[in-house]
Symmetry: C2
Subunit: 404 residues, 2 copies
């Protein structure tokens, strides 16, 4: 029997306890031993819940108990999670976490510590909910040099953008619906401003390139400026708008990363990733294109990923599973020189297509959606040039990056 403890009895924590109960028999078979939840840590009480018998309010009871071999941290946030996880590793316990803030901030250090202690620090559930992506990156795509990772990594924004498109509603209405359904928080900024996706692409990039990618360095733009008119343009172009979190390695081996809405067409592997689903596209120099798809959040899918890590930790109690993520910082190149095409919307009152051609060169006309607007797609242009040119246009309504 292997004793574990669950820190945090919220959505994911209670999901972990539930999955271990529902699938206990097959998990036993796969782990080679029974997984027993010895403690649950939470500040609250849960009257009537069977976990009351094992509920504790003091983390040290868990962290100082040598019988606990694996600690599951599903509290979220950097502190006190970081202190608890560090102490757990120092005290000889492997750690499984779903906490993207913790992993993005302290992943390299905690992996080093786990390695030093011959333990494991596993975090499959921190990106893409239930989708297996951390382990495939770490153990399956090992023959490749990764040249691009692009993910739809935030279910809330993907749901909002999908509904804006399907139901012809504006951003605020779609957000309110998402909040009513529990898909968005009351304070939605972490999701809609792209911060959640930013931390996740930082984790994936650090693993793909084997060096520390600091999330603070990643250019991050959310979706709150995307209007129902932008969506109509996308439809007119047989395209969809998705919040992409990307990191791309140039031919000269420099890497840039950004989170921003982009228009894609049906030929992109992520085009069919709709609603709350997540998808992660990876391009390797020999494997070519691969894509992973599934529920990016939700109680049971996320708990499934956490428990799969518990099984792995149980199978490797005193053997470190090697993960290459050095604490050496990867200096991202500025997005200034990154090139995209852009859909640009300008007022007809102040602008003509001729003006725009004079400014951008050969532009692609776009079907009319709003009578008082001109819209067109630019040639490939760097972010810096685009910014400068936008300042020269009076009556600019908006712009969205285009990947086709």
């Amino acid at each position: 029997m292997i004793n574990i403890a669950v820190l945090g009895y919220g959505t994911i924590g209670s999901g972990v306890v539930e999955v271990l109960r529902i699938n206990g028999d097959s998990i036993f078979k796969r782990a080679g031993d029974e997984i027993n939840v010895k403690y649950v840590l939470d500040l609250k009480e849960f009257p009537g819940d069977p976990i009351m018998d094992i509920l504790v309010h003091d983390a040290d009871i868990i962290l100082d108990d040598p019988e606990v071999k694996i600690v599951v941290e599903v509290m979220g946030g950097v502190e006190p999670a970081y202190s608890f996880v560090k102490k757990a590793l120092l005290n000889g316990k492997s750690v499984v976490t779903s906490n993207k803030e913790l992993v993005a901030k302290h992943g390299a250090e905690l992996l080093d510590l786990a390695k030093e202690k011959n333990l494991n620090f596993l975090f499959e559930a921190s990106v893409g909910g239930g989708i297996p992506i951390i382990r495939p990156l770490n153990q399956s795509l090992t023959a490749d040099e990764i040249v691009e990772i692009t993910g739809i990594l935030n279910g809330t924004t993907n749901y909002i953008l999908s509904k804006m498109s399907e139901e012809d509603i504006d951003f605020e209405t779609a957000l309110k619906n998402a909040q009513a359904l529990g898909y968005a928080e009351r304070d939605p900024s972490a999701d809609v401003d792209g911060h959640d996706a930013c931390r996740k692409i930082a984790i994936l990039s650090s693993l793909a390139y084997g060096m520390q990618v600091d999330f603070e360095d990643i250019y991050t733009e959310g979706i709150s400026h995307i209007t129902d008119i932008d969506i109509q343009y996308a439809k007119a172009l047989k395209a969809r708008i998705k919040l992409f979190a990307s990191s791309i390695r140039d031919e000269d081996e420099s890497v840039y990363a950004m989170v921003a809405p982009v228009m894609i067409r049906a030929d992109h592997p992520l085009y069919s990733v709709n609603d709350v689903f997540n998808g992660i596209y990876v391009k390797g120099n020999v494997i070519g294109d691969v894509m992973f798809y599934g529920s990016g959040a939700g109680k049971l899918p996320t708990a499934s990923a956490v428990v799969a890590d518990v099984v792995d930790a149980a199978k490797h109690l005193n053997k470190n599973i090697w993960t290459i993520w050095s604490s050496k910082k990867l200096e991202l190149i500025s997005t200034d020189r990154v090139k995209h095409r852009f859909l640009v919307r300008v007022s007809k009152e102040n602008n003509t297509l001729k003006d725009m051609e004079a400014l951008f060169g050969e532009i692609e006309k776009v079907p009319e959606v709003v009578t008082d607007e001109l819209a067109f797609i630019t040639p490939l242009i760097s972010e810096k040039d685009m910014k400068e040119k936008k300042e020269q246009i009076s009556g600019i309504v908006g712009s969205v990056r285009v990947r086709f």
Copy 2:
């Protein structure tokens, strides 16, 4: 330095040597040691190829050399591959293979032998080419009871069906084009009759349910009976025809498996898997839907999967990676009782919709594609009942299973 040997210098074997050369540095980092190809086995000569220096024609030179720690078997076919692999394991070498015939036939036995000898028998490349699916099934989806695996597992048939649809051509023309491009063999029967997909779903099912699924027990139907008119019906129904290889666990825990063309709509995760790409959809009882997508064949993608297994074998030289695939046979239930809806095409001369309603109950009318035909979709009906009813129809033109 870890010495390996490559058995077979065809497309995949030469790809393996190429990937180890192109990405040698990063593979070194991930394996923790240099991977050195000490021998290549092939009956042919390759004048001018650098591997000539290490080419041998006698497998025993490799199998009896204690310096060789990992044997890569990429010859294909059951014999002599099976004898070579068995001897390699008996002589203390881990084995990596891309050989689906070998794995489907002898997987359980070779896994047992590897475990007994504290070695590894790895076969990521045997299903889905470069797509990571074996390792995710074995190591990532361990918290779940798998209730369905459905794959588009054969690139040749997917290419043919995609082109029939995109270019409005018939089966024979699409097959000839595929042969001209090297996507189909001169004798295409292993692909178009479904035998290749059948072996692959047998492997995935054995891993998912942990017991031996014999490919001979799987109901297998190919695509050669699919006509351009069937494709037109699919288009009229906003659907596509795909060769699905499925295994599904019922609520009473009985499993059935089948390979057959089916019509699906855009809401199915595999709808966008076109051309030579493969996709594998997995449904777990807690994770819900996940899908893996990528190149299902091709020199470098397949070699990428083989080399990733070599890296894993190198990291686990004297430690068996546990795989649950018992040699105990899983008795599949007969497909007789499996239910589908069917698109049925009958001649107008002999039949009326009224007749068909009398026979099937409530049917769904389908837009007219051919003037002298009636087409409709049946309610859910068992394979057995469908077979019996088809015999009662004079002037039946064809039928295709429908998954919507």
